[in-house]
Symmetry: C2
């Protein structure tokens, strides 16, 4: 019962832990927040998931994920994601904006499509009390997952919209390399855009496909505490989600993975 009140376990960190076990495991450790993903929530049933989490005294800190605006039917799909976020009582829908369409080289066009989609979706999010959070992903994902590659770019995309409707995600894994990272975190604070803060560490060598290469807190080279302090300095006092995609961690039983994550969080983030 010692977890820091801002600690939130993103569900993908313990990807194979069934939702009821994850919820009871978190409650047993005094964890107060979880970040959920649409697929496991849909599998369990959104209404049941919402009740399960609420009954355990946990808050859903974000839902992953909307976005992928290049896909056919993306607007309708994102409307559903907004509705699910509201149904879960989560304040934030994380947006992974999508890469280039197959065979396309038009990165400017893909970025313009993100801006257009935000304009279509922001009011709908507002009506549902949901904040869209644009997540800049590491540039190694720019072609296949997310053409939004820097925090500055995410802030520019958010700028035309009310801050209550569109914010940004700050994730240490994606941003640690950026010479402008700390200046842009301060800007996110000034512009009131900081919707959610996520942490993971950077380790090499990267695995094939690079998606599952995120490191456990403290195993890599990211100045996690410096990031947390910079985020705190903006006035943000919301949840800090741990989101680590890592095969070794996924092969670890959920409770053990959570215990490790909590201890590393205390050691390297707080």
């Amino acid at each position: 019962m010692t977890a820091d009140p801002r600690f939130s376990l993103n569900q993908w960190t313990t990807r194979h832990w069934p939702l009821p076990d994850l919820v009871s495991g978190c409650a047993a450790e005094g964890v107060r927040g979880v970040g959920l993903w649409r697929e496991p929530v849909a599998e369990y049933g959104p209404t049941r998931a919402a009740k399960l989490v609420r009954d355990a005294g946990l808050a859903v800190t974000s839902l992953c994920r909307g976005g992928f605006f290049q896909r056919e039917g993306a607007i309708a799909e994102n409307r559903r994601a907004i509705e699910e976020t509201a149904a879960l009582g989560a304040p934030v829908l994380v947006l992974v904006s999508g890469g280039l369409p197959d065979g396309s080289r038009d990165i400017d066009g893909a970025r313009a499509r993100v801006a257009d989609a935000l304009a279509e979706l922001a009011p709908y999010a507002g009506e549902h009390g949901v904040r869209l959070a644009i997540e800049p992903l590491h540039p190694m994902f720019a072609s296949d997952r997310c053409v939004v590659a820097t925090l500055g770019q995410a802030l520019d995309l958010a700028a035309p919209h009310p801050a209550a409707q569109v914010g940004v995600v700050i994730d240490t894994y994606h941003l640690w390399w950026d010479p402008a990272a700390y200046a842009d975190i301060a800007r996110a604070g000034r512009e009131d855009r900081l919707a959610i803060f996520q942490v993971a560490d950077w380790t090499t060598p990267l695995p094939e496909g690079v998606l599952t290469g995120r490191g456990m807190l403290g195993d890599g080279c990211v100045e996690l505490r410096r990031f947390r302090e910079a985020v705190d300095a903006t006035g943000y006092d919301g949840p800090i989600e741990v989101e680590i995609f890592n095969e070794d961690l996924w092969a670890t039983p959920g409770e053990k993975a959570l215990t490790l994550t909590l201890s590393r969080f205390a050691e390297h983030v707080l």
Copy 2:
């Protein structure tokens, strides 16, 4: 005998092609420039290599590479690299600035070390008629190869030094994702920093370790022609080096790899 006069074959594109074969193969195709690497040059003998290339009527467009400023003895090692560049009659020494020292999380410190090393080396380069070219590498290499991750950052590092002593490398593979890429290319032109232009394409999925994932021209999503036009618009009319690290290409016989590269260059870059 139809190669574009600006085309230059970077030696690492046909990594296993012995230097004499590479030189005669290039000459047979009318190629006028080659980018060489220190290791194979050292193996062949620098003086012999210089004569071989010169006798075939080829110019050495750059030498790869100096840098790795975090390593012990880096300054002495870079002085030797400058001397070798001069001995080859190459105008440019490409600098891969190095990542974080083992166990370090001090990215600002590593970047400051790059600035300090440049200050030590720039005059020595000038004395030898060699221009140091800071290469920003893709941010996925920031921890283990190069803490210089954007063209803007490279230009900031070059700024304190005479343009004849310190310039930058523009490599499409490393920069294509950057929202500021074209603005920074124009800036490189205005500040007279464009030392060498290199091209490769971006493809996914990335292989384990990501180093050898570069794509043949036209196989990926980079707007190669747009980059070339932006570089041309600065007034740069120097060599365009093709530098592709790719296992499939390395397994292709040198002459066949060169023919393919020339044809793709004509199709996608010119």
